[in-house]
Subunit: 611 residues, 2 copies
Amino acid sequence: MSVPPDQAAFVYIGAFVEELARSGVRHACIAPGSRSTPLALTIARHPSLRVWMHLDERSAAYFALGMARALQEPVALLCTSGTATANFLPAVVEARSAGVPLLVLTSDRPPELRDVGAAQTIDQNRLFGTHAKWFVEVALPDTTTELLRYVRTLAGRAVATARAEAPGPVHLNFPFREPLVPVAMEPPAGMSPAEEVAWNGRPGGEPWVSVGDGRTMPDETIVRRLARQLREAKRPVLFCGPQTDSKLAAPLAMLACVLRAPLLVDPLSQVRWGRHARSALIDRYDAALHHEPTAAALEPDLVMRMGSAPTSKSLLQYIQRHAMSRHVVVDASRWPDPTLLAAEVVRSDPRLLVTALLEQLEQLEQLESEGSAPSANPAWLERWRRVNAAAAAALVEYGDSVGEPFEGCALSEIAAAVPAGGTLFASSSMPVRDLDAFASGDERPIRVLANRGANGIDGVLSTALGVAAATSETSPLVLVLGDLAFIHDMNGLIAAKLHELDATIVVINNDGGGIFSFLPQSRDAEHFEQLFGTPHGLTFRSAAEFHGASYQLVSSHSGLRKVVAAGVDAGGLHIIELRTDRMRNVELHREARDAVFRALEARAGIGAGAE
Amino acid sequence: MSVPPDQAAFVYIGAFVEELARSGVRHACIAPGSRSTPLALTIARHPSLRVWMHLDERSAAYFALGMARALQEPVALLCTSGTATANFLPAVVEARSAGVPLLVLTSDRPPELRDVGAAQTIDQNRLFGTHAKWFVEVALPDTTTELLRYVRTLAGRAVATARAEAPGPVHLNFPFREPLVPVAMEPPAGMSPAEEVAWNGRPGGEPWVSVGDGRTMPDETIVRRLARQLREAKRPVLFCGPQTDSKLAAPLAMLACVLRAPLLVDPLSQVRWGRHARSALIDRYDAALHHEPTAAALEPDLVMRMGSAPTSKSLLQYIQRHAMSRHVVVDASRWPDPTLLAAEVVRSDPRLLVTALLEQLEQLEQLESEGSAPSANPAWLERWRRVNAAAAAALVEYGDSVGEPFEGCALSEIAAAVPAGGTLFASSSMPVRDLDAFASGDERPIRVLANRGANGIDGVLSTALGVAAATSETSPLVLVLGDLAFIHDMNGLIAAKLHELDATIVVINNDGGGIFSFLPQSRDAEHFEQLFGTPHGLTFRSAAEFHGASYQLVSSHSGLRKVVAAGVDAGGLHIIELRTDRMRNVELHREARDAVFRALEARAGIGAGAE
């Protein structure tokens, strides 16, 4: 007996959505459309799923990405058929690159209406190509026991796959026949218990299938060898790049202390800020390693890196300069080594490895009678700490002296304004680089996020607003981005108004693409402004007005800390604009760097100091 | 001898860009970025290529799509690596669906920097999947004779492939090594003539390879058979759907006259308006065929369709209702038949077939002594014309009587305001449907365009501005779109300011998704407004201000004609907002339809009239 499509969808999509909820999904970002009606209505009717409507699918996808990034749990994303789905691609790419779990649900016409000129019908099969972690062309709704088991399994499996190690976007493409509004259907009489459980789900709200998560862990021989190598290294350097596991900081910082190894902490590492052992943390490497003699003198013999590749270019160059050191890269599945210098890649979840290394080191200490300390000379860490302190002092002093708006100091002021427990979201391009170079770590537990999977400047507002939606009740959000990133995703602000989100947004407006002024392209006098500078002459007062945000133009970076803190305190949506000059910005960066150079040279031997 | 990357790129990319120009490319839409520098700088330096900068790649792609659609020539589109490229997908999908030639150039890191965590590096290989007509992973720049022949051939072949029948987007992914700023390189001494021509290009500005375009044409037996079938049909119906060949109108309109067959002309067919034979044109089918008795009575025996599937739902239902008629679909490569009723698909360029049919019919007339006229009873066409006239009169009368803003009449007024030679761009969703239903054709040669490949409401502003950029000096542009489409692509307006474009834009603001009120979803009282209506409460005065456009709020559709005409006359960028009510809009559409029904019923027998 054939079941009408609207009734079949009621049962089948009902089972799917119920299993999403039982598998832990709590949020769905939805853009309006007709073909997606069975999913949209079923999600909206579900008591434990919260719906976030969006008018632009690109923004919707980035918003979902932000929520999933903040929650570290899969967030569902839904749209209708056609180009709507194509607008998801940028965020899907970022989700795959950055390891963010997304559940991408697209709606499609059934097979008989594909490729025959039906409206809003495009080829959605594997639309996101290699950028989807898993793709399923879902079966048409039906109410057989087998299909109900299938769709319940599919939901649980999709959530688990999105969340599993190396999390990422899972894409399910749902074909639907008209009519599209689901109509309730009574369960058939006389079902067997097995049929009944397929129809109603397992008793007591248990998911159809629970997936036991696993994490990669190297075997003990590898841990033992690595522990010994670290212990024997004379000049070990640890680096933690962008990553989101908040529980990595404590054991990793402890490991650095035990090893007496400098731990270089990327602003996105979740280690630069927070209440963990801070004595081995180095956060001014970007400025210090620009200084050639210092970078040359601080020659490591072992470099162990985890998280993504460094944000800092001078750190990357430091790694490349010391090509003959032993380079160890820790990652469960990716290959974050653009230097191609890794002699060893350890396949492991970083936290599991670090914890295992700490245990191993403790055992080694107890076992070995002759001497309990690691080999690294205490002077090695001390040299790094002195370099770090000198660079820090020089940058603070320079910041106090500069009498005009400076983007570097702006990032330092903004970071300082984020309250403990708050989240700072930094745009790719200059903000995250300036954050790296100018913002010093401290004990405030703050979370620092960015779209650093693919490093795009698109979708920044939407991603940050998604973070705010997921966490702002407990963790106020401060976003800093440039004018081009702001313009790129300006429509994303509509979500802030629609969903009454709290966010304090700082736009550093240098009227174009500031990063290019630092690149060799800037020497092409004829075409630089046209192709790279791209001035637009826009200011954002009326954009703020359009989106119902408060607006404040600040004239200097030193005013930022107070204004940002006030925005955070007040709640609501605030747009704060700081205008800077692209050409002067390059000069001021150079001045800051020179100040660091002078400090390092004044305390000659700081880097090269005797061991 | 290995050539430095910057010098190799100078020669290699120089050859590529020169061949683009020699192959007829005139425009390049570019978004700023670093990895794309070799292409961007070379294009900017080329004297016969015009650069259009954009800050958002999605808008850039739609803008290029609009230019290419208007020019019917490939337009180049360039961006850097990473998510920037992913933002091209929506427009690439539309270009493929709608048959618009695009030359999509993406920049990438070289093989050694892929999938190793290098910044802004994603898998761009076949990024657009089946939506790219052709994909090439381009070789790294080099200066060997073979590679220069390769890249010159590649340019000519890519342009030709994009332009060839069933035009579409071609995607070339260019890897570049640093340094990225091309540096001039002297040709090596002592080249052979064959080497010299590879280095410098063919003499006299000739392209490296010219591609002779072909168009599909059925063989004569098919044409002869079809001509006979059309001639013998008693109740033939011709339909021309959305298509952009401006030269199809004259022969097709002539064919309809010769056959005494009603020619139903979609607003996007380029046949509804213009100075061709108009006596067989039917433009009120949408309203008339809603009327069941009329749709039943006007039973065709042969339906020949060309162009894309109809915009009108009532026409689609009319075709489906008469499933036992013979359905012939003409298309060179696509399969535009969502009804699945086609008994014959004629693989042909429509214009070539229509011209061949006219010749064949003339021959048949001369050959056959017994009777020169086609079989179709003159009464058949006359019935259609009476139905059309009755529906037209009823709609005009209704429009004159309605005392509040009505979206249907708004489209009729806007269409009437477009000057001869002008272009009207209508958004998907309601505007193009209301245009179909309410705007009557006349002798003004106007072009009517829409993104009706995949029927998305995304990228509408950018596409229309691309059309304006390509043609507004000769053909003023009027755009009509809804509030959701406006919001979706609001950032696209930046291009209007940057490039000082002329466009008159009418936003019909019904505070949400108007089309859904016509669908069964509207009966879900609990979730309709949240999921489908999606009210946002926005009005567009401050958006206009932000983008430097004039703004006018009009209170009735009857004022639109004058305001639009004034905007066109004045030049510059104008945003005209008409506010309507979504619920009332459904009622007013129903009233208009009822007025047509009454007119058709009053003249009983109009549809069913005796033959």
